[in-house]
Each structure stands twice: as structure tokens, then as C-alpha cells.
């Protein structure tokens, strides 16, 4: 085993600052896997019966200790750090929980995409800004008043802060103080992906103007959320803008400028930005060099080329990832260990790397594979060039 000379907090911050920690830090995104292992119903974050949340949080704590501990917690436990309705209540479809509609209880939580926003809604966003649009949209679409939502989400925030306190007292960083769904992802989820793509083709200027109009409220809402949670980390949910979907001209013109405005605003306040990239962003990686150095984590889900990311972003931002879900579910421990060692050898060289699950640890991951992933960072040192 590698002799540990840093706390988890010091280790994670060394990686964010592109320094060489005592060993590679590990921060797996664990949620549904834990519920399954502990025989609990699989529900989305902040889902299921709130009466079960304390038991679910206990399961998170137990699993952390059973697995020998890791260096950071993604969401503090069973909810997101939402304090306002403004971002997290964005118009969207809904979750389908295992057991619903005859779907096996062994499945994962799934997101059902529905068209809940119209082309005309872009005009409202342009005219009234994001909060103005939502304050009109939410009561109309859901029948729930903004006051009711505020009360519900304040209750969620209190639970989040209590759960976060547990980890912070143990000197384990909590990597989410606010959650931002990127502007293009928000609109894409509300329109559905194919419709959003067709909208950009048919109503290019209108979509662009709507994306730009969302930014001031997105910035202020997130700052409010970070202040409410007291945790200066912002998690970005990024999927729909990647080169797996859109050409780089659209990315450069419509999506990246919004991401940069958000990250610049948060970095200026000292917030660390966890850029959670799902799908293949390999083509987009060079743009990330324009974001503030040492203030972001580029988190990849195993579909982007993490080794290329090291070449492009090494020396500029920390990289996090990316043990593939299929490997954790179907592979054997030797394959998991070999992949983790390769990550440490290549991406971990000279620091600036956090080993993690690619996306979330799958619900059906083999326990011994998860254990092997965690144990590997504790015994296998990263190389130094000098």
C-alpha cells in the first residue's frame, strides 16, 4: 500500500491544482449501486419516500466504510443541493423508477424525455429571461405554485446540508454545492433532442438568442445555491452539446460561449467547477483550454478519449474518470485493475487526475470490481516525469 501523507481534502485539492498528491485520489459516483447492494428500492436522487432517506443515507455511510473509503463524495447523500426551483425545476420529462410499468426492479432509474416546451417558448425566454419564463411556465405546466416549490426545496436543502456536514466533518470533500444543467441541455431535454436539433436548423437565431438570454439568471441562481449550501463547488451536467451530436461551428457559436460565461463567473468567486461530460466530447476538448486554469475538473464518462484529454488539457485542468460501466458490470477484477493501472500510468502521470467511475457506478456493478477499482489507487503509484 502507498503510504498516505495527505487528507482526502488535501489530495483532491492537489489534483485540482495540478500538483502531485501522495497517491491518485478516487471519487466514484455511487448511488444506485449502494441502494442495490443494501437491498433497498432503486429511486432517483431526491426520489422515493422521504421517510426512507435517513436509512438510505446510512447505507451510503456503511458502503463508504465497507469499501475502505474514498476521497470525495459527489452528491452528499440522497438529494441534490437544490435551494431554488429556478434551475432544477426546468421543464423536462420525468423519471421512471424500477418497478414502474412492469420494469424489473433490478433496472436503473431511467429518464423519459417528453416534449414539454414549444417553439414559442423560446420567445418568452428571450423576452423575460429564464426566471421570468419559469415563473410563468411552472404553475401553468405543473399546477404547483412557486411558493410550494420554494418550501419543498428549502426542506431538501436542509437535508442536503445535514448530510454534507457528515462528510465534511470527516474531512471528505463534497463536490456539489450547486447543480447546473447546461443551457443547451436544458432546452434539449424540454424540447427532446431531435426537436431541438431541428429547431436549430429552422430557428437558428431564435434558439441562439434564447440560450444567451438564459445566462444572467443561470449565473445568479447558481451563486444563490452555492451560498445557500455553503459548498463552493458547482456540478455541471453536460451531455447534449458534444461533438457526438453537433458540429463544432454550432458548439463554438451557440454552446461554448454560454459555458464559458458560467464558468468564468463562478471561477471569479473561487468556486470549483466539476464539468460532468456524458457522451463523447473528444472533439470539443481543445475549447476547454479557454476556461480558467486550475478551477475546473473535466469529468469523462468513458465514451470520450480520456487519454487524449490528458494530452490536450494536462497542465490546464484536472481530469476525472472513467472506468467504463460495462467493465464494472460485466468485466472481471483483472480487467478492472488493468484499466485502472493504465489510467494511473497515463492520465495520473505528474498529477492532475482523480480516478472515478465513468458516469455513475452502474446499479449492477460487481462488488468485487468496485472494490478492485478503489484498492488499485491505494497501492499503485502514479509515475512522475521528473
Amino acid at each position: 500500500m502507498i503510504e498516505e501523507t495527505m487528507t482526502s481534502e488535501e489530495r483532491i485539492m492537489a489534483a485540482v491544482n495540478l500538483e502531485m498528491p501522495d497517491r491518485v485520489p478516487i471519487a466514484p459516483l455511487m448511488y444506485q449501486f449502494v441502494l442495490k447492494q443494501k437491498g433497498m428500492p432503486i429511486v432517483p436522487l431526491a426520489g422515493g419516500d422521504p421517510a426512507n432517506w435517513p436509512k438510505m443515507m446510512d447505507a451510503m455511510k456503511e458502503m463508504f466504510d465497507e469499501l475502505g473509503g474514498y476521497d470525495a463524495i459527489y452528491a452528499a447523500g440522497v438529494t441534490w443541493p437544490m435551494s431554488s426551483w429556478r434551475i432544477n425545476s426546468a421543464p423536462a420529462g420525468g423519471y421512471v423508477t424500477p418497478g414502474d410499468r412492469g420494469i424489473s426492479r433490478d433496472f436503473s432509474v431511467q429518464y423519459e424525455e417528453r416534449e414539454v416546451m414549444t417553439v414559442d417558448d423560446y420567445d418568452t425566454i428571450i423576452d423575460r429571461g429564464w426566471n421570468g419564463f419559469l415563473s410563468e411556465y411552472i404553475p401553468r405546466a405543473s399546477g404547483i405554485s412557486l411558493e410550494q416549490l420554494d418550501a419543498a426545496e428549502k426542506a431538501l436543502l436542509a437535508i442536503y446540508k445535514e448530510n454534507a456536514r457528515y462528510w465534511l466533518d470527516r474531512k471528505i470533500p463534497v463536490m456539489s454545492g450547486a447543480l447546473v444543467i447546461s443551457c443547451e441541455m436544458t432546452l434539449s431535454l424540454a424540447r427532446t433532442l431531435p426537436k431541438f436539433m431541428i429547431d436549430i436548423h429552422r430557428h437558428h437565431d431564435k434558439v441562439k438568442a434564447a440560450l444567451e438570454a438564459m445566462i444572467p439568471d443561470f449565473i445568479q441562481n447558481t451563486i444563490d445555491d452555492v451560498e445557500a449550501s455553503g459548498i463552493p463547488w458547482v456540478t455541471f451536467s453536460l451531455e447534449r452539446g458534444s461533438g457526438a451530436y453537433f458540429n463544432l461551428k454550432i458548439y463554438e457559436e451557440m454552446f461554448f460561449p454560454q459555458l464559458k460565461k458560467l464558468v468564468d463567473a463562478f471561477a471569479a468567486r473561487g468556486f470549483i467547477n466539476v464539468l460532468h461530460f456524458d457522451t463523447d466530447w473528444t472533439l470539443n476538448l481543445p475549447y476547454l483550454r479557454e476556461l480558467p486554469a486550475r478551477m475546473c475538473i473535466c469529468e469523462l464518462d468513458s465514451t470520450s478519449d480520456i487519454f487524449k484529454a490528458k494530452e490536450i488539457l494536462g497542465g490546464h485542468m484536472c481530469i476525472m474518470g472513467d472506468v467504463p460501466p460495462s467493465l464494472l458490470s460485466l468485466g472481471n477484477t483483472e480487467e478492472v485493475i488493468a484499466y485502472c493501472e493504465k489510467l494511473i500510468d497515463v492520465v495520473g502521470r505528474d498529477g492532475g487526475f482523480i480516478l472515478s467511475t465513468g458516469y455513475e457506478c452502474p446499479v449492477d456493478a460487481k462488488y468485487e470490481n468496485v472494490r478492485a477499482m478503489i484498492d488499485t489507487v491505494k497501492r499503485y503509484p502514479a509515475p512522475r516525469s521528473r
Binding site: R101, S108, S326
Partner: protein, 220 residues
């Protein structure tokens, strides 16, 4: 062998407009030529040529998924104009049949829908069974249609067992040597191919079409 430059030089007006994603122009051309009494099949062929060029541009890195989706939408609009003018059964005589669906337990439809659009654009006859499709439903449709190709989609790790279960059902029905099987999805890898015992896997819709083209040749 026709190279892409030659293909682009020989494009018809409809094919060129579709390849350039000129939605209004394609609709207008198709409508006018149908009204002038032209053979719907030749217009369909021109639309397919346009889709073929879109595919070439995608492979060349000039087009991305969003252009595939937009071209698919334009193609669908053209088909809505052309199909009512076709005689019953016309256009499907030569088409290779593909049974397609998202596997049991998985409700993700976008990837599967994209592949369905691209397959239709490439001239395949697609039997799309939707989402959360039980193994027996795949088997029943393969028997009913005699399709030589089965495409299964899934976005979650538990879907891999549903894929495997479906392959087993195809085997039990005595169809495995008559049907080539491909699985697709964002996190599908070679390990999944090994686990499920399918013939191919892909993370890319257009590559899925190429795989089906290869299967169609092999099964003839």
C-alpha cells in the same frame, strides 16, 4: 467503385437539395414533380441518393448527428408526399428487412429512432417494435417477417442481460443461423458483444447502417 466526388457531381436536384438540408426546396421539388406525374419510385431513389450523400459527409466529419436528424426529417416529409402515390407493395420488393427495438426494461428511444430513420433512408424495410420489447416479441416479429437482421438498442447496463436473453430466445426458436444480430447504445462495448453473443456492436447510428448493409450482403 464510385468515389464520393463523382457521386456528388452526379447528384439530381432533389438529392443535392436534401444533401444540403434545404428543406423547403426538397418539399417543393418533390411535390411539383409528383404533380407532374413522375414515377414516385424514381423520386424516392433520388431522396435516397441525397441521404447517401449525407451519410458520406457524416463519415467524412463534415456532418454530425444533428445533420443526420435534420436530413431524416426532410426525408420523412418527402416520404409523406411520395408514399400515398405508390402502388401497394411498390418499393419494398428488394428491401432487406430489419427488426429493431429497445430491449426489455429499457425505455430509451432516441438512439433506436435515429437508427430507424437512417435505415429507412438507406432503403431497408424497418419493423420498429418500440421500447421495452420482450424477447418473445422480437422472435415473433422475426418469424412473421422472415427478417434476416435484428437490431437491439439499450442505454443501461441491466439492458445487457435483456439483450442476452433475447439472443437465447432467438436460438431457442431455431432462428440464430438465419438472423444476424447487432446491438447498439452509448455504453455498449466489445465486452457486451462477448456477453450477449451477438454478431456486432456499435455506438454510432450510421455505423449501425453499415453493419446492416454488410449483414444483408452476407445473408444473401
Amino acid at each position: 467503385m464510385i468515389n464520393n466526388d463523382t457521386k456528388e457531381e452526379n447528384m439530381s436536384e432533389i438529392a443535392e437539395a436534401l444533401a444540403n438540408l434545404e428543406e423547403d426546396k426538397v418539399n417543393e421539388l418533390v411535390k411539383n414533380r409528383l404533380d407532374a406525374g413522375e414515377d414516385p419510385m424514381s423520386l424516392l431513389d433520388e431522396c435516397r441518393q441525397g441521404m447517401d450523400i449525407v451519410g458520406d459527409r457524416y463519415k467524412a466529419g463534415e456532418y454530425f448527428l444533428s445533420e443526420l436528424i435534420v436530413s431524416g426529417e426532410i426525408f420523412k416529409e418527402s416520404m409523406n408526399l411520395i408514399e400515398p402515390r405508390m402502388k401497394a407493395g411498390q418499393g419494398s420488393e428488394q428491401a432487406t428487412k430489419v427488426v429493431l427495438g429497445t430491449v426489455k426494461g429499457d425505455i430509451h428511444n432516441i438512439g433506436k429512432d435515429i437508427v430507424a430513420i437512417l435505415l429507412k433512408g438507406a432503403g431497408f424495410e424497418v419493423y420498429d417494435l418500440g421500447i421495452d420489447v420482450p424477447p418473445q416479441a422480437f422472435v415473433d416479429k422475426l418469424k412473421e417477417t422472415g427478417a434476416p437482421i435484428l437490431g437491439m438498442s439499450g442505454l443501461l447496463t441491466p439492458s445487457f442481460d435483456s439483450m442476452k436473453e433475447t439472443v437465447e430466445s432467438v436460438k431457442e426458436a431455431g432462428l440464430r443461423d438465419k438472423v444476424k444480430i447487432v446491438v447498439g447504445g452509448g455504453i455498449v462495448t466489445e465486452i457486451v458483444q462477448r456477453h450477449t453473443g451477438v454478431d456486432a456492436f456499435t455506438n454510432d447510428g450510421l455505423e449501425g447502417v453499415e453493419i446492416c448493409r454488410r449483414f444483408a450482403k452476407e445473408m444473401k
